[in-house]
């Protein structure tokens, strides 16, 4: 009990960050499930959403800026897929991954160019930036809202995948790309939807994350991006509940490590966890094992 009391701020922060990671991780896990591609640019999309908010909120009121940020992020995600991944549909997997790294390099450098490499102050979003008192420790409203919002969004997504036609198509494509194509599923539409959903969630995650961290830099997306990917692998790539659970576990653990004063290993921990899971159970917590056909 004493442990929890002492570490409550860290645990709360962990749950909050975990929720934000979860929203990014879903984008990774869905894309990987369908294209077998680590979308290295996803973290940078998340960063781009942060900058859009910075620039849009400077001129527009928040109630217009926020929806606009989400819409623009979705469009950007959609365009990335169309321009950088679609032409390589038949290319070896390594080429697509290199293309993803190229896109990431492009977005980061463009952000650097636009901002001259300076960190930008993230706008304060009223209500969710306010302080709140939870069981005797002070935190912001966003910390409390994040996990709730994450769970609502995930529930909606799971329902979408389970009960709608496009959801069914997504499941089919992730199970067998070629056969579902033969069954008349329009692969490109399904893939576009996947990127749209992933980008939408990344935009929401970005709003929450940067409200917490207050500044955006051109490289702000790469670490959360990689961590969210680790979360997706940890939960079993392709599995949405797995990614969410993995994200919460990583968020909480890394904040506890911070609390213990091991700040240097704060980022390294996530990767240590990744390597352990890859070696012990490569299919992750909820993933399925696949065998190659000879």
């Amino acid at each position: 009990m004493a442990f929890i009391e002492k570490n409550l701020p860290y645990i709360l922060a962990g749950i909050s960050v975990g929720g934000q990671y979860a929203l990014i991780a879903i984008g990774y896990t869905m894309v990987y499930g369908i294209l077998r591609l680590i979308n290295f640019a996803h973290g940078d999309l998340f960063m781009a959403a942060g900058f859009m908010m910075v620039y849009l909120s400077a001129t527009l009121p928040l109630y217009i800026a926020i929806p606009l940020v989400i819409i623009l992020t979705v469009i950007l995600g959609f365009l990335i897929e169309r321009v950088a991944y679609k032409p390589l549909r038949k290319a070896p997997r390594m080429s697509v991954m290199i293309s993803a790294i190229g896109v990431s390099y492009f977005i980061q450098n463009s952000a650097w160019y636009i901002t001259s490499g300076l960190a930008k102050q993230y706008p304060t979003i009223p209500v969710i930036s306010n302080s709140i008192n939870v069981w005797g420790s002070t935190t912001t409203v966003v910390t409390v809202i994040t996990p709730i919002l994450t769970i609502i969004l995930v529930a909606a997504l799971v329902a979408l995948i389970r009960y709608t036609k496009i959801g069914m198509a997504m499941r089919a494509v992730s199970r067998d790309f070629e056969t579902s194509q033969l069954m008349g599923i329009r692969i490109n539409t399904v893939i576009s939807y996947t990127f749209v959903i992933g980008s939408f969630l990344a935009a929401v995650g970005s709003l929450l994350y940067f409200t917490n961290y207050t500044t955006v830099t051109p490289t702000a997306g790469s670490m959360p991006g990689l961590k969210a990917f680790v979360a997706a692998v940890f939960g079993g790539i392709g599995s949405i509940p797995g990614a969410v659970l993995g994200a919460f576990i990583i968020g909480i653990c890394e904040n506890i490590i911070k609390g213990l004063g091991w700040t240097t290993f704060y980022d390294a921990f996530t990767f240590a966890l990744l390597i352990i899971i890859l070696i012990a159970k490569p299919s992750g917590l909820f993933g399925e094992k696949s065998t190659d056909k000879v």
Partner: protein, 361 residues
């Protein structure tokens, strides 16, 4: 047409190399040492080594590894730690009572040690991760690189690594001959390896793992060899980079560095050593010299050239790289090598064509 025989080839190659070195010596005599050309040549040679070592892994063995920056870091640190002069140590390790390493190695042994230490790390990392397939391997090696970076910045290791502070005051090179010689020897060894029976086995693994295994090639063993050797040379590349930069700090060896190296591999052609070398010099020349103007706000008369501002060079680069990845995914050289035969063939064709035209007129 008759091909050159082996002896002639070796002679011509040797003559070309000697010619190159004489040219470099002459340039050093006549150009000011601050010339951009030398910066490009030095850094280009170092990058060529690192890029070729990554190509050995990604292009020739088909192992998609993203750990290069981490391995360079180990090499750079090993070199710096063991060559800082004893009398300079109290100043460098000012927060750690002069560190615990109380001796200094000469430059060449230290460079070799840098390679060996990196290779040992790589061997140990390879044991678990090389069992992973393509993209999982990529992300795991990327993860290890991050862990290495954190590890070297760790306070508790401060007496050895100086924590997150700079390492400096170790011996560096001034002449462009030094990096050219070291990188040249290393690349030559890699080329010999690629053309040996082991190189064939690596390429077989790249083409088809299952068939390679059915031909009696032990996958784990060969991947381990490729990974360790590649890292050995990445470590040496790291040591050279440390010498070039004159200071080393772990925080510089980020994933972005690996991405950049990977993109140079792609530009040169995955599976081409000469392509990698060519692309390295080209990339460094563009980024350090030729395209610098893109970063400067420029006025022609009173007209402000649009877009030009800090960072535009990198955006331009990124666009070029995306174009190469999407439309010319074979890079400059594809999997071909630049060879004397091909060159002679090329000129002979040109020449004979012209002669035909001449006789026609």
């Amino acid at each position: 047409m008759e091909h050159l025989n082996n002896k002639q080839k070796i002679l011509i190659t040797a003559a070309l190399i000697i010619g190159l070195f004489i040219l470099l010596l002459v340039l050093e005599q006549f150009l000011p040492s601050s010339s951009m050309l030398f910066v490009v040549l030095k850094k280009g040679a170092i990058y060529a080594l690192v890029v070729v070592s990554m190509n050995l892994l990604n292009g020739f063995t088909g192992l998609f590894s993203l750990g290069q920056a981490g391995f360079m870091l180990i090499g750079a640190y090993t070199y710096a730690i063991f060559t800082i002069p004893v009398e300079a140590r109290p100043m460098v390790y000012q927060y750690f009572n002069g560190g615990i390493v109380k001796f200094t190695l000469p430059v060449i042994p230290a460079i070799i040690l840098a390679g060996i230490v990196t290779a040992i790390f790589a061997y140990l990392i390879g044991l678990p991760v090389l069992r992973l397939k393509s993209d999982y391997l990529a992300i795991a090696t990327l993860g290890f690189a991050e862990i290495i970076r954190a590890f070297f910045q760790w306070d508790k290791l401060g007496p050895i690594t100086n924590g997150s502070n700079l390492l400096k005051l170790y011996p560096v090179f001034h002449s462009v001959i030094f990096p050219f010689t070291v990188a040249g020897i290393c690349i030559a060894i890699i080329v010999l390896l690629i053309n040996s029976s082991y190189g064939r086995a690596f390429k077989a693994i790249r083409d088809d793992e299952i068939a390679a295994e059915a031909m009696g090639i032990n996958l784990a063993h060969h991947k381990q060899i490729s990974f360790t050797i590649s890292s050995f040379f990445a470590g040496i590349g790291g040591a050279l980079l440390a010498m070039f930069q004159t200071t080393v700090q772990a925080s510089a060896f980020r994933a972005t560095m690996t991405y950049e190296i990977l993109l140079i591999v792609v530009i040169g052609g995955i599976g081409s050593v000469t392509g990698s070398c060519l692309a390295s010099f080209l990339f460094i020349a563009c980024s350090e010299w030729w395209l610098r103007f893109l970063d400067n706000t420029t006025y022609i008369g009173s007209f402000k050239v649009p877009l030009l501002a800090t960072g535009f060079r990198k955006v331009f680069f990124a666009v070029v790289i995306m174009i190469i990845v999407l439309f010319y995914n074979r890079g400059i050289m594809g999997t071909n090598e630049f060879s004397l035969d091909a060159l002679i063939e090329f000129f002979r064709k040109r020449f004979s064509k012209r002669r035909k035209e001449d006789s026609a007129t």
